[in-house]
Amino acid sequence: MTDATHPSVAETRAARRVTLRHIADSAFLIIVIYLVMAVVYVAVQPSALSAYSIESLFNNSLPLMLAAAGATFVILQGGFDLSVAGTISLVNVVIATTPMEGPGGALALLALAVALGMAVGAINGIIVAYLRIQAIAATLATMIICQGIALLILKAPGGMVSDFMVYELTASLTDRVPYALVIAALGVVFWTIYSRTDAGRNLLAVGQDRKAAALSGINVQRTEFFSFVWAGAFYALAAYMLAAQTSTGNPSAGEPFLLLTFAAVALGGTAFGGGRGGVTASLFGAATLMLMQKVLFAMGVSSFYTGVIQGMIMITAVLFSAAVHHAASNRRGA
């Protein structure tokens, strides 16, 4: 062991590193970015704080948030899942073509939706984890297949979504706290617990170092498999809330989610390639993306050039989170 000539210095450096790392690892950064953006938004748009505005903002953001949460499971273990677009379309049309009224019906539909999402996820998982096909290509294929099935079920936008889902699920708890926010908060709670269970830890471990994880006794294939299953479940939730919000089914409902989901995950600071990040961060990443739409509108950025700003913000956010992470794990080079 090297002698620590200046233990106090070493200790403080280590301490600083620990706090920075906590910041870098947790969803702290993206939460700050989100809050800053929210403040800006409220400043330029005072009506933003009205109960209705808050409710509609969260209702609108929730599907993307859930989709990004799902994608995070796969990205954390180092994979890639393009099937998000297909799964959302598929589940969305199934919900819209399976009329079930009332709270009981909504619950039954929820179970059906999640089961379907998990089934798609399981197929992805089998193909990627057990047949060992490159994830990006395999999920591209399953995405296309899901879109095809969605078109078989519903040729054009339509179908019916029960009034309970359309009106109750998108309302607010005691007229103040949108259910959408409650669901997002449940997502945070879920991840906080899940990430501390063995399954959650294994997910991160596999993402950091597949080989070491395998040699540590982690069943890497099963971990990969279940990451896709969880992802499918969350995509299904996204599709479910999308159906509630838009009160309709659309065989191409999932298409806009394809790139936005990955943008949201990246914005949240989850590393592509795995091992670092989390669902909470992605939830906030997606919320930030949707809030950005609001802020840009409020700032009156010429709509032709909205994309320029969006692109810049994405790059900056990723650079920022990388910079903090770099400072946190300021280790010796190569």
Binding site: Q45, L154, A156, T170, T246, N250, P256, F297, G300, S303
Partner: protein, 411 residues
Amino acid sequence: MKVTNKLKTLALAALAGTTMLSAGAADAKTADGKWLIYLSLSYSGNAWQSEAANIVKALAKTPPYNETVELVEVISGTDPQAQISDYESMIANGADGIVSFPISSNALNRVVRRGCQEDVLFFMYDGTVTEQCAYNISFLSGGFGENTAQALVNELGGKGKIFLSRGVPGNSVDERHTDGAMHIFNQYPGIEIVSEYYSYWDDRTTQQETAKALAAHPDVDGVWAQAGEYGVIQALLQADENRLVPVTGENSAGFRLALANPDMQAKGLAGVSSGSAPAQSGFAFKIMMEILNGEREPLPEGERNIEYPLPWVPADAVKMCEGDTFEDGCNVFGEDKVPSSFVSEVFNPELLPELSLTSALDGNPTEGATIQPLPEGAVKRAPDMPGINCRSCEAPDNQYDLTKIEATVQP
């Protein structure tokens, strides 16, 4: 400069929005006394969308609207969530009216309903929403599908192999067009649909998809196409530069010029140009302004579906415009003025006499023009189309009746 202006306007608008919220007044105008109108586009990126937007912009700059209208353009992309978000913001900003191409016929209903409650007028053009408090101004009920299908059947003498070049899969407009067309084709056992493909209403995609279909069926006898039809002509010429077949399609300049071109006719081209007109946006805008200005009574809910007349230009009716407007019944501009993808139905001398080529291309008002009131009887109610402009409704029995053409061959 443009941006600062907008910022200023928006700041004012925001101010107006808050006062409105507190006052709850119905007669809301911006602080400088103008109507705050939003133009919400789904997807700017093809000629059709930008022409439609330019028409509204040009009208808003035409006196006296230049003094009374504050028009803000917003592009929401292809994501319904984004358009929902933008509608919300517009409502929050105290919009008086929203002229919009809706991305989805159902997904926007909730926010539209909510806007109506805040006394915002919604005018949808071309596309529609099923929320009954919004006005839908659309040609969809005009029967594009069945009329063009009959035209093609007539040209083919009731039998032959045809392609269907469709729009976007899973889209209700595409479904309506195709259902209408199939209603006709199904009556003729001699008509054989040998290939059906999606061209995303885009010239280039149409060209490639048609080329693929031609690989299997070089002996095709006719093509029924939605927008992107000029690509069909190009693909046919590519496969065999001496052989064309009857083609029905929409309103691109390239297609109309080809229809009227004697060389092309000699090779076998015939058909009709019909379909969606960008001018619908201008029509929608003018109705809305007349209602806002109190010149026209608002229509009761449930009767707000308005039909825009279906353009109908057979080959022999194509007439080149010499000037910059549709004068003397001319209906197409030459290649020197517009690209081939330019959608020709930008002007409507009856409904929109204020417009000229510069309006459609650049969004500028026509010099010397002033806003003319809509003629008597211009606003005609459109029939119900379930899932397109209403939710729980029945389609009339005669929904596929021919309006523009008669069958010249019997099944």
